[in-house]
Structures are given as structure tokens and as C-alpha cells.
């Protein structure tokens, strides 16, 4: 799996866990926090770039979370 595909899968997998929360705002916060606290800056930079280019392959919740990530921090 290439690098960006791997990051997309990672973001979607994280989203799958938090998606259990019926409150999608809270779920997206959970995903964003998880990525912020666990991903090295290069990885965050790459997934944000991918999101900004349309975010193909990212789940809806992952997209919501990355939007929050962008709002929270500059990478």
C-alpha cells in the first residue's frame, strides 16, 4: 500500500471507532484529537494535503475530523 493510501486507511479506521458515537460532532472531535496526539507532523501534513485536494477515499467522519484538525492547528 502506498503512503497516502495507508494514511487514508488509518484515518478511516480511526473514524470507524469513533463513529459509534451518535453525536457526530463529538465523534469528529475524537478522531481529530486522536490524529493530533498520535500522528507525526509529516503524516498530518500529508493527510491534510490530501483532504484539501478533495479527500478521495476518506470517510465522511474522517473528512469532518480533518477539517477540525486544520482549524485547530497549523502544520
Amino acid at each position: 500500500m502506498n503512503k497516502i493510501d495507508n494514511l487514508i486507511k488509518m484515518a478511516n479506521d480511526i473514524s470507524n471507532f469513533f463513529n459509534a458515537d451518535p453525536d457526530k460532532e463529538l465523534a469528529a472531535d475524537g478522531v481529530a484529537k486522536h490524529i493530533m496526539r498520535g500522528w507525526e507532523p509529516r503524516m498530518r501534513h500529508d493527510i491534510i494535503n490530501h483532504y484539501q485536494q478533495g479527500g478521495s477515499g476518506l470517510s465522511d467522519l474522517a473528512k469532518m475530523a480533518i477539517a477540525k484538525l486544520i482549524a485547530q492547528t497549523k502544520v
Binding site: K9, M10, F17, A20, R37, E40, M43
Partner: protein, 950 residues
């Protein structure tokens, strides 16, 4: 130093609190109710002669050497089987007793070889001691028939069995039953024909014996004797240290002759193992002096070059200059490293300190990434601390034991024996595992009440189904949940888990487990006075590993099975120091004590102490390092004591990353698989050659003590210090105790830990601080460790793994360990343990084998989406149809060539336990295996060339 034999009190200690007072030989004694007279006497220094009694097993009363007289009592009772009572007056020595004892000894000696001077037990023989103690001066009998010509059994590689020296005291038989729980030995025959027999008169190696050594330990004569003692004679001094194999962390006495280890004897006062051991820790220490040890530093420009032996200074300077060059060319974040769970706490701490402070980034990770990182995450989220909740002894108070994805009798054998003892006492067992582990029905006198034989990859569906039953049938301990846990999260979780799709009936199609069994198992666990959960890598090594850990925590909180003896959530850690290496800040996002690198206060504390600017950003995890290497942004790596080329998933991806890097520095005791891709080799020290501490699965910090000089001249912490100084970040420790003092000063849960305390107490369980100065056997007794003190329920939706079976890959491969080999096998493969397991095999169900025309021993090709390898087939009904299983102890097996890069969502712990594969009958090794063999042979040639030139 001396051998300092441990005192044998003859019978086990009583656990009763109430005491009685009596008189023995005129001396007043107070002892707990249930104590034997023999033990009470020993406690005041009166040693009553004995042969069939030893304090690791229950009294038997067969030798009669320990007889005493009790004022007002009849006859001469055996002191080992007679309990103390209030007001007793006991006489242990008088002419009548002396006559009886001499008579007994005379009979024993009449059928015993009188070769004491040349006997291996000379100087350590209880029979010899008793002959002296009773004053035996002559043997009047001249028996017509004796056992003196009985044939020795030399089949076990580590100990011999000489029945001519056996006194049929049954200590070995009872140790095998009571201590180990294998029941491999029996007393066969009657009267004169009585003899100790492995299984049904078989050789030890052909019997069920697991070579734990309990029988050897219990034998009072030279009947069962370590071959190393036969070869080298009795040891002359002993040093207490800690085993370097699994996460049980057994305490051992390294019994020495000068700098040579003669034998490793389990330490009676060891609080993790209480004098028991397994075949690895007890016997498989020979790797430490194996001829494959590399003891000189080596460098080379490329992995195609021969190694060049160089001085320590040249090797260290070369590594440092390469790392600096790479950082100058690719940036500060282009290098990193891996700490080891096989190394000490102090060594792991220093490596992460070097990386954070010396390299200037947080690119540090550890092998827990591929085993228990989901435990760290899941338990931190729910309970507030990344660790198990109990001490091992807690299991002896459990009424129902739920074992999920663990195989304690193989992976954690000494704890497995303790668990078996509790099960034989009547505790109930539930096993959740795709495979029939020995505990299910293959251990004597043990049978699981329920074996939930689920499909691999469906753990979360099962834990949700169990929880669904607990909630909907109102089997919860709501008082506990409401008082001790976050109420909002509890209510939210109840709403989630009550939904009908979690019911056992609806989950059955996913898990394959009959709903009735799930319901019954849930009821059994939830209604137990004390329900305990033990789990292993079958929980963590999944794409939902962290979710499952959280699900387990939810279940324990909902049923109130936390915060006291006999209950809890207990991860059985794989490696000796995997808990410790995680505690020491080996993860890229956490400092020691699991504090996030982004936390400004914590970072300021470390910056002040380390006098360095620290990055607030998380670093790369191991798999991310590989991706970055292939992306040309991560080009140098310092790997201490890990073999990522063999142990990490998707081998071809790992090897490509290693090949892509410009400087790989490996510090190890052998040229392991990773070192074949290295540019600098720094020879490491085995656990026998270093001082430090290991932390086991119950958070117990135990001492590791140097018993021999490091073969390469340095302990591993010294090598890291040299490298750090060469990198320009000064370190000046003169002993690991100074490193522990620094850890304690910076880590709240370790603030009370010191070498002095460990020496005084023998070991200590963290948290150890002002509030808990002697440590914490059981956690969360009053509050949880989260900031608000409340346990947190989290929602655990089942998400099927992306690793799916289909027509092309119709079977699921799952992996595991066996008793005699250890992880990548670097240590145990270099011992006689190969006698039990000399190759990895593919277990396959008879139906699946028949479909493929496979017979036992045939070569089976195993193909996955990641790669292909070939193993010999082992037809077995332990696996269910559709599931195949293998171990991963031999590099040539290429088990990880077929595992994929699928991983846990939270931590990237690889999904070793679920790989879709096809299996077919083949006639030769796979292409990868053939290439591996060529590459490996070439690397060994390059090593030999280097050594020849050196």
C-alpha cells in the same frame, strides 16, 4: 559471596491469620493455625530430620524420618502432617526417636549406591545430610535384591534421571502435580517394585513432561540432577536475578562457579514465581555463551560489503558521524530508534532519552508496537493507566477465570501453573479462543466450563455479546458502576450495548459461537463472587485490538470486577520487560510515565532535567518509520535488542525499508535478521552481563544483576551512553542505579523506587510513591487513575477486519507461541530447546488438509495477499475448519512474509492474528525462502570474512 542455600521449612506456610502457642523442645513458639509442627520448629531454628517433605509441596508423611513425640499423645506422629495446636508440648529429639530415625536411614542406605565422593549431588544431598543428622554409622542389611543397577534415563537434554539413587519419596511426583500441574510422573508398582515413572514407564522425553525442572528442584538426592552440575560440579556462589524470557519475570538464583553459570534455580522468595520455573528460564540460558555471540564492534559501508571489526571508539564515532551526516542532509527528523523489551528499564530509558534529547525528535518506538500497544491505549483511556490491575497471586482468589486470546500454559507457563492450581481447587474457566488451547481440556483435572471457539477477527462481537447479556439480564453491579465510573459514559454505553444487534443470537452469524454458550458464559462471569479476565495477544493483535481491550474494561467495570483481590483485567505481557519499556517512555508520543509530549508542564520538567530542547510533536511509530524510509525522509535508525526484520509484519515491506536507509545501527548479542541489513553492529550484553531492572506483567520491578563480565566489554546502557556522548549530548552515569534515580525524580508513579528499596523488598510494584511506599499490588482499589478518578465506559462497535477471506484466500491464518521457543527464537534456537520444537509447522484441520491432499509432514504452501511461504503440515483438530495456525520462531519459516500491514486503528499494532490465506501441497520452499537462504548465507560469509580479517 556464598551459595547461601535457601531455608526449607519442610511444609508450606499457612495462610490462616489466627495463631496458637505451643512448646517445642522447651522453647515457646507461636504459629498460625494450620502450620505443621515441622515448620513451626524450623521457624525457631529446630530442624527436624526429613526426606519426603519440602516446603514447596503439601506434606505426605511417608518417610517417617520427621517423627516427634507429643506430651500426652500416642505414638510418634510425623511432624510434617501434624498441625500445631494450642498448648502442645513437642519433643523432637530423644533416644527413642533417634533409634527410629537411624533405623529408617539404615533401610534407605541399604539400597542406595555408596558413591558419595563421586556423586554429582555430593555437597547438596539431603540423604547424605540426613545420614549425618541421625548419626548413621553402619548398615547391617545385605539385601539380595536392590535397585542399584537400574538404568539411567538421559533423554532430557537438561537433566538426567538415575533411578538407582531414587528413595521413592514422591517429591518429584508431587511437584509435577502440585507445582507444575502436568501430572507427568507417577509412582508405578507396589512395595519393592515402586518406582518413579514418567507417564507409563516412558522416557522423560517421550512423556508429557514439560521440563519445567520442578521435579529436579524437589529431588533430595542425585536421582534427578541437572546435567550441567554433573558436568561441572556444584556451584559455589549464587546471585539473585530476573529471567529474561516472558512477562512473568521469574526470580532466579544464578548459581555460579566463578563466572560460569552452573544452573538457574527458581528463587523461593521470588514474588512472581514463588520458586517455580519453566523450561526456558530454568534451563535455556546457554545462548548467553553460544559461539554465535558477536563480541567485537563492526562497521561496513554497504550491506553488500564484508563486515570490518573495529574498536569501540571507531564504531561509535562512525555511527554518530553517520547519524549527524544524515540529519544534515535530510533534516533533524530523518533518524530515530527502537528500544527493546528484552533490555532493562534503565537501558530503554536511556535510548529514548538519547533520541528525544540527543537526536532532537520523538522518533522512538518499541516492540510493544507489535504486541501490547492496544493494552496501553485501551486501559489508559478507560482506567487511566496503561497496565494490568492485579498481581499474579490474585488469581488464587478468583472464582471464575475468563481467558481471552491467551495461552498461559505455553506463553506464560509459570503463571499458567498457578492458574491451573486455582482451577483444580474449583474455580470455573471460560476460554475465548479460535483454537483449543491446553487449558480447555488438555490439562489434567481441568476442563473449561465454556470454550467460545470464535472465528478469528470477531473478538469485539463476542465481548459486546457478553456485555449485552450482562446488561439486558441485569447482571451488572450498578452500584460499582455508578459510584466508581463516569455516570454519563455508563448510561451512554448501556444504551449502546442494549441494542438488539449485539445479542448473542444476532452475533452468532459473525462469531460462529452458539448463542446459548455466550449467554451461559456471561452469566457465569457476571455472577461470580470474583471474576477475573486474563488476555493476551489474541486480543491485541487485531485491527480492533484497542476496541477489544476497551470492551474488556467495560465488561469488568459493569460487573464490578475491579479494585480487589481475585478480579481485574490482566494483560499477559509477552516479553520480559515489555511493561517496563513502555513505562520508560518508549512510545513516540509519551514520556516516561505515559505523559504526552505535547503537555507543556511535563515537557518543561524533562527539558530542565535533560538540559535540552524537546519536540512537542509525536514522533514516528515503527511502521511509519518504514513508510518514511521508503519515502526517503527517514534514513537512519538505532535498534537496540530488537529483530524487526523477523518480528514485524509484511517482511518484504520491512526489508525494503531497511535496504532504503543509509545507516542502520544494530546493538544485539547476535547477528540477527535485522543486523544482516545493518551498517554498524554494536555487540550487546545478555541479561547475565548487566545490572538493571525488568518490570513484569504485574508491574513488578525486579532486579537484574550482573553475574558475569560482559563478553564485549560493555553493558548496553554504557554503549548508549557512548553513542550519546559521540552525538554531542553528554551522559555521565556510572551505574544504572543513577539512571533509576533520575527516572524516579521525573516519574510520579516511580518516585518511591530506588535500588535500595528493591534490594530491601526483593521487588516492588509501581505505582510506588509517597502514598504507596511499598508499591501497589492491586490498582484502582478506591478510585481509578484517570484525572477525575472515574472509570470511563467507551462505545465498542464491531467493525469487521478488512482482511477478508474469499475464493482465492479461503482460510484464516492465525499465529501464536509454544512453550519451548521464545518469540523470534534468537535465544532459544541456540539452546537444546530445539529438542522440543525444531521448526515451525502449519496446524491445519483434517477436513481442510484432506481437501488439499495434505498429510502430516507434507510441505504446505501458504499464500496470502502479502506473500508466500512453505511449512510442514501438522494435521490437528485443535484448529477449527477454515483456520490454520503457525508459530513464528524460525526466520526461515517466513511467517511474517504472509502477514499483512493491516493494523489496529488506534496504535498500528499489526493484525498478526488474521491473515486470509490459501494452502496447497507443494514440493519445495517458496521463492522468498530460497532468496532468504541465499541472502542469509551471503551475510554469514560477509561476517566470517570480517572476523577473519579482524
Amino acid at each position: 559471596m556464598s551459595i547461601n542455600k535457601e531455608q526449607d521449612f519442610g511444609t508450606p506456610a499457612s495462610t490462616e491469620g489466627q495463631t496458637v502457642s505451643l512448646e517445642i523442645d522447651g522453647f515457646a513458639v507461636t504459629a498460625p493455625v494450620g502450620t505443621s509442627i515441622m515448620r513451626a520448629a524450623a521457624s525457631i531454628g529446630i530442624d527436624i530430620p526429613k526426606l519426603c517433605a519440602t516446603d514447596s509441596i503439601e506434606p505426605f508423611g511417608s518417610c517417617r524420618l520427621c517423627v516427634v513425640q507429643i506430651e500426652g499423645g500416642r505414638g510418634m506422629p510425623a511432624s510434617c502432617t501434624t498441625p500445631v495446636a494450642e498448648g502442645l508440648k513437642v519433643c523432637t529429639q530423644n533416644p527413642r526417636l533417634a533409634d527410629v530415625r537411624r533405623g529408617i536411614m539404615e533401610l534407605y542406605i541399604s539400597d542406595h549406591p555408596l558413591d558419595c565422593l563421586t556423586c554429582a549431588a555430593n555437597g547438596d544431598c539431603e540423604l547424605q545430610d540426613m545420614a549425618g543428622a541421625v548419626g548413621l554409622r553402619e548398615v547391617r542389611y545385605n539385601p539380595v535384591e536392590t535397585h542399584l543397577h537400574a538404568v539411567k534415563d538421559e533423554s532430557n537434554p537438561y537433566f538426567s534421571f538415575d533411578p538407582s539413587k531414587c528413595i521413592v519419596c514422591s517429591r518429584c511426583v508431587r511437584a509435577c502435580e502440585e507445582t507444575q500441574g502436568t501430572f507427568a510422573l507417577t509412582l508405578d508398582g507396589r512395595g519393592f517394585d515402586s518406582k518413579v515413572s514418567p507417564s507409563q514407564n516412558q522416557a522423560f522425553m517421550d512423556s508429557e513432561c514439560v521440563s519445567c525442572g520442578a521435579c529436579v528442584q524437589a529431588c533430595p538426592t542425585a536421582t534427578l540432577m541437572e546435567k550441567s552440575v554433573i558436568d561441572h560440579g556444584q556451584p559455589e556462589h549464587a546471585i539473585v536475578t530476573t529471567c529474561a524470557y516472558c512477562g512473568v519475570g521469574c526470580s532466579f538464583r544464578a548459581e555460579m562457579k566463578g563466572e560460569q553459570v552452573i544452573r538457574m534455580v527458581p528463587h523461593k522468595d521470588g514474588k512472581a514465581n514463588h520458586g517455580h520455573s519453566c523450561v526456558k528460564g530454568r534451563f535455556a540460558f546457554g545462548y548467553a555463551t553460544h559461539k554465535d555471540r558477536i563480541t567485537k564492534p563492526m562497521i561496513r559501508a554497504s550491506i553488500k560489503d564484508a563486515w570490518q571489526e573495529v574498536s569501540w571508539e571507531e564504531a561509535i564515532n562512525h555511527a554518530a558521524s553517520e547519524f549527524k551526516r544524515i540529519q544534515a542532509k535530510y533534516g533533524k527528523d530523518s533518524i530515530g530508534g527502537v528500544t527493546s523489551s528484552r533490555c532493562t528499564n534503565e537501558e530503554a530509558y536511556l535510548v529514548q532519552k538519547l533520541i528525544r534529547a540527543g537526536f532532537g525528535n520523538n522518533n522512538v518506538d518499541t516492540c510493544a508496537r507489535v504486541c501490547h500497544s492496544p493494552t496501553g491505549y485501551g486501559l489508559k483511556q478507560t482506567f487511566g493507566e496503561s497496565s494490568g490491575t492485579q498481581d499474579f497471586d490474585s488469581v488464587m482468589k478468583s472464582d471464575v477465570i475468563l481467558v481471552i486470546g491467551a495461552n498461559p500454559t505455553d506463553g506464560h507457563p509459570v503463571f499458567g501453573s498457578m492458574m491451573k492450581k486455582r482451577l483444580r481447587q474449583g474455580a470455573k474457566l471460560i476460554v475465548v479462543d479460535p483454537r483449543e488451547i491446553d487449558l480447555v481440556s488438555n490439562s489434567p483435572h481441568i476442563k473449561a466450563s465454556y470454550h467460545l471457539k470464535l472465528r478469528p477477527g470477531t473478538n469485539v462481537a463476542i465481548i459486546n455479546a457478553l456485555a449485552h447479556v450482562v446488561v439486558t439480564e441485569n447482571l451488572m453491579d450498578e452500584t460499582f458502576a455508578l459510584e466508581r465510573c463516569d455516570v454519563a459514559s455508563f448510561e451512554k454505553w448501556k444504551t449502546f450495548i442494549t441494542q438488539d444487534y449485539h445479542s448473542p443470537e444476532n452475533s452468532e452469524a459473525i462469531t460462529g459461537v452458539p448463542a446459548a454458550d455466550v449467554r451461559a458464559a456471561a452469566r457465569l462471569y457476571a455472577t461470580a463472587n470474583n471474576g477475573a479476565i486474563y488476555y493476551g495477544l489474541g486480543v491485541t493483535e487485531h485491527s480492533q485490538g484497542s476496541t477489544m481491550v476497551i470492551g474488556i474494561a467495560n465488561l469488568a467495570m459493569a460487573t464490578g470486577n475491579l479494585g480487589r483481590d481475585g478480579v481485574g483485567v490482566n494483560p499477559l505481557r509477552g516479553q520480559n520487560n515489555v511493561q517496563g519499556s513502555c513505562d520508560m517512555g518508549s512510545f513516540p508520543h509519551e514520556y516516561p510515565g505515559y505523559r504526552h509530549v505535547s503537555d507543556a508542564n511535563t515537557r518543561a520538567l524533562f527539558q530542565q532535567a535533560w538540559q535540552a530542547e524537546l519536540s512537542p510533536e509525536p514522533g514516528l511509530r515503527i511502521p511509519n518509520m518504514f513508510d518514511a524510509a521508503l519515502d526517503k525522509t527517514f534514513m537512519g535508525m538505532y535498534i537496540e535488542g530488537e529483530d524487526i526484520a523477523q518480528s514485524d509484519p509484511d517482511t518484504q515491506h520491512v526489508l525494503a525499508a531497511l535496504r532504503a536507509m543509509e545507516c542502520v545501527v544494530v546493538q544485539d548479542i547476535f547477528l540477527n535478521e535485522t543486523a544482516k541489513f545493518a551498517h554498524v553492529f554494536l555487540p550487546g550484553a545478555s541479561f547475565l552481563e548487566k545490572d538493571g531492572t525488568f518490570t513484569n506483567a504485574e508491574r513488578r520491578i525486579s532486579p537484574v544483576r550482573k553475574v558475569m563480565t560482559p563478553l564485549a566489554g560493555y553493558q548496553d546502557w554504557e554503549v548508549t551512553q557512548l553513542l550519546s556522548n559521540a552525538m554531542g549530548y553528554p551522559m555521565n552515569y556510572s551505574h544504572p542505579s543513577e539512571i533509576m534515580a533520575e527516572i524516579a525524580s521525573l516519574t510520579p508513579s516511580f518516585s518511591g523506587v530506588s535500588y535500595e528499596k528493591i534490594d530491601e523488598l526483593g521487588s516492588v510494584q509501581w505505582p510506588c510513591n509517597e502514598q504507596t511506599p511499598v508499591g501497589t499490588p492491586i490498582m484502582h482499589t478506591e478510585t481509578f487513575m484517570r484525572d477525575n478518578g472515574k472509570g470511563l465506559f467507551m462505545l465498542t462497535e464491531f467493525v469487521a477486519t478488512a482482511e477478508r477471506t474469499n475464493q482465492k484466500f479461503p482460510l484464516i491464518l492465525t499465529t501464536g507461541r509454544i512453550l519451548s521457543q521464545y518469540n523470534v527464537g534468537a535465544q532459544t534456537r541456540r539452546t537444546a530447546n530445539n529438542a522440543w520444537h525444531s521448526e515451525d509447522r502449519l496446524e491445519i484441520h483434517p477436513h481442510d488438509a484432506e481437501d488439499r491432499g495434505l498429510k502430516n509432514g507434507d510441505w504446505a504452501g501458504i499464500k496470502s495477499r502479502a506473500g508466500e511461504t512453505v511449512l510442514r503440515a501438522l494435521i490437528s483438530e485443535r484448529v477449527q475448519p477454515g483456520v490454520v495456525y503457525t508459530t513464528f520462531h524460525f526466520p526461515e519459516s517466513g511467517a511474517n512474509v504472509i502477514t499483512t500491514d493491516n493494523s489496529d486503528w488506534a496504535t498500528n499494532c499489526p493484525e498478526y492474528k488474521v491473515t486470509a490465506v490459501q494452502v496447497s501441497k507443494v514440493s519445495q520452499h517458496s521463492e522468498w525462502q530460497q532468496e532468504y537462504q541465499k541472502f542469509s548465507e551471503n551475510q554469514l560469509e560477509l561476517l566470517e570474512q570480517g572476523m577473519a580479517n579482524g
